[in-house]
């Protein structure tokens, strides 16, 4: 059964078709990658799925329910979490606090419970804190728990962002260029992590430029070019796909 179903999705910016009639599905429990040259519409596609951009046509369904048209926070509470190409951590908050915000969808203390510090919220807070520490440990950054997240090194910031996304216990994790700016060791570690995440029954959809990473870990690949889907296949088949090779080598014979 497909966890995420994208049907004839389009998004225009004025005359530009950033995403043009794209359809594909993400089966449950796999790692799927979206690749394509710069400007192919990958990040736009992510923003459409996560609800950050309204779509021009088509639909996005999650667990057989239409999610397009919902607000980002509603989509998040349905079980889709994400990271950003340009890291977006909360300024002025520690690494631990950043991850704790990730637990938002699975906790419930509201304004009144908070203002009156109701006893039942104490237990919830404790659980949030423990779970967040566990995730920081899982990503080897527990020692930076009380450091302001935005002052960490780049790779560590990526890890905090990933921990935050995992804290929301998503069923689908959207990773927007998770390897950007990482060195080869960090990238290898990331590959290991993503596989570990998948083993936790979390489906992963990632956008990535690093071909070795994509080919290593993903089970299916979608290739976009100028907003259109030009191929969808296994890594091996994609590597030998003539159209894909043509795009990546920049050969241009049909103007």
């Amino acid at each position: 059964m497909a966890l995420l179903e994208i049907q004839q999705l389009s998004r225009r910016f004025g005359g530009l078709r950033a995403v043009d009639d794209v359809s594909f599905s993400v089966p449950e429990g796999i790692i799927k990658a979206v690749i394509g040259p710069n400007g192919a519409g990958k990040t736009t596609l992510f923003n459409l799925i996560a609800g950050n951009l309204p779509l021009s046509a088509g639909s996005v369904s999650f667990k057989e329910k239409r999610i397009s048209g919902l607000k980002p926070f509603q989509i998040a509470s349905k079980g889709i979490s994400r990271t950003y190409q340009s890291i977006k951590l909360y300024l002025g908050m520690t690494a631990l606090e950043n991850v704790m915000v990730g637990c938002h969808t699975h906790s419930s203390a509201g304004f009144l419970a908070g203002m009156f510090n109701l006893p039942w919220t104490w237990k919830e807070e404790k659980q949030i804190r423990e779970k967040s520490m566990e995730l920081l440990s899982l990503l080897d950054i527990a020692e930076f728990a009380d450091t302001e997240a935005t002052s960490l090194a780049f790779g560590q910031q990526r890890a905090v962002e990933l921990a935050r996304a995992l804290a929301s216990e998503p069923e689908l994790l959207l990773l927007d260029e998770p390897a950007a700016g990482l060195n080869i060791y960090e990238t290898a570690r990331l590959a290991e992590l993503i596989t570990k995440v998948r083993d936790r029954k979390i489906t992963v959809l990632l956008v990535e430029h690093d071909m070795s990473l994509v080919m290593d870990i993903s089970e299916e690949i979608v290739v976009l070019s100028f907003g259109r889907k030009i191929a969808e296949d296994t890594p091996h088949a994609i590597q030998t796909n003539r159209e894909v090779v043509r795009i990546y080598l920049g050969e241009d014979d049909d103007a």
Partner: protein, 356 residues
């Protein structure tokens, strides 16, 4: 759990008592009047601090909410409703004993709202207006939001200035005392000065505890996340629009309660309380307190309001607050009471030691 956040509360209470005792033994009890008024302004400022420093939104309209509370309460407790006492609305309130009759100096019977009823109605009115304004306005960001809330403040100011019911330029005077509890009355009588000083500070303390709790809760974390990276907060399931609206309304209620109590304490309210410069002043105080510092906002609100009420700034009152805003934004955008200033001072002394 997490009792650390309450540590400054007993210190605050000790300071409050110490100041009262000092004024008693130095025979300067007149300071208590301004300290009481400053406390109510501090209540408003701490509420605004949550909107600005934690949720990262700005409001240049909080004097408007202060005025809505003060004016509603003042009008309902002073306006003589006798001519319309058979109206269905008033009969409804009368049924629940929310009205009371008093006799004026000419022996005429006046029909007014009981202060408690007026207080509750004022808060409800504030909540309704805060929602009505907040829903469209909080969609804006940055200086657009500042301008929109400024517009709201100007509207409230012009309404109270032009409405006969609100006393036009004279405002409303002869507002009766507010018997909060039997034997506990908010009024400006000389012999009730000490009592009122403690009423005001009790209210501030309650407000502080509620806000401290909120800051250190799941909601407080979400608010700071909105401040830190709004779309990432949204992506983690935080209903950013709803949270911003709620905190805006809560701070409006704080402003309104401050307005209600101060109006009963002063025995009246005038249009200057609704003025735009008042809103600017509150924003300046939050800024100088360090934006995301409840305690900084409290200390600065009391200190600066006290100096202003004592007339220390003379006729340059508004100019002083304007200047403070400019200087803070230029030289200490984190506020004056930040620890790194202490560090700087420490470092300064350490250096001189090393040299010697």
């Amino acid at each position: 759990m997490g009792l650390k956040k309450y540590i400054p509360i007993p210190i605050l209470l000790l300071a409050v008592v110490a100041i009262q005792l000092t004024t008693h033994y130095t025979e300067t009890p007149f300071y208590l009047t301004q300290l009481t008024m400053s406390a109510y302004y501090a209540l408003l400022v701490t509420g605004l601090c949550l909107v600005m420093g934690y949720a990262g939104q700005i409001s240049l309209g909080h004097a408007g909410f202060f005025a809505i509370g003060g004016y509603t309460s003042a009008a309902l407790t002073t306006f003589n409703f006798t001519p319309v006492k058979d109206h269905a609305v008033l009969r409804f309130f009368d049924k629940f004993h929310l009205l009371m009759t008093t006799e004026d100096m000419f022996g005429d019977i006046l029909l007014n709202f009981h202060p408690w009823a007026a207080c509750v109605i004022a808060i409800i009115v504030t909540i309704i207006i805060a929602f009505a304004i907040g829903i469209p306005v909080l969609k804006l960001k940055g200086h657009y939001l500042a301008m929109a809330t400024l517009g709201f403040g100007i509207i409230i100011y012009r309404i109270v200035l032009a409405t006969e019911f609100f006393g036009e330029a004279d405002g409303i005077s002869e507002v009766p005392g507010f018997n909060v509890l039997p034997g506990v009355s908010v009024n400006g009588d000389f012999d009730a000065r000490i009592q009122n000083y403690y009423i005001a500070w009790t209210l501030v303390t309650i407000g502080l505890v509620l806000l401290l709790n909120l800051i250190h809760s799941r909601v407080g974390r979400a608010l700071r996340a909105i401040h830190g990276a709004e779309d990432a907060a949204d992506a983690m399931g935080v209903d950013t629009a709803g949270y911003k609206l709620n905190i805006f309304v809560i701070s409006a209620v704080f402003a309104s309660i401050a307005g209600i109590f101060l109006t009963h304490y002063n025995g009246g309210i005038g249009p200057s309380e609704a003025g735009v410069m008042k809103s600017v002043r509150y924003v300046a105080i939050v800024a100088i307190g360090g934006m995301a510092s409840l305690w900084g906002a409290l200390v600065m609100a009391v200190g600066l309001s006290f100096l202003s009420l004592r007339g220390m700034f003379g006729s340059y009152d508004d100019a002083v607050f304007g200047a403070i805003l400019i200087l803070i934004m230029l030289f200490a955008p984190d506020g004056l009471l930040r620890l790194h200033y202490l560090d700087k001072v420490k470092r300064f002394f350490r250096k001189t030691e090393d040299i010697s």
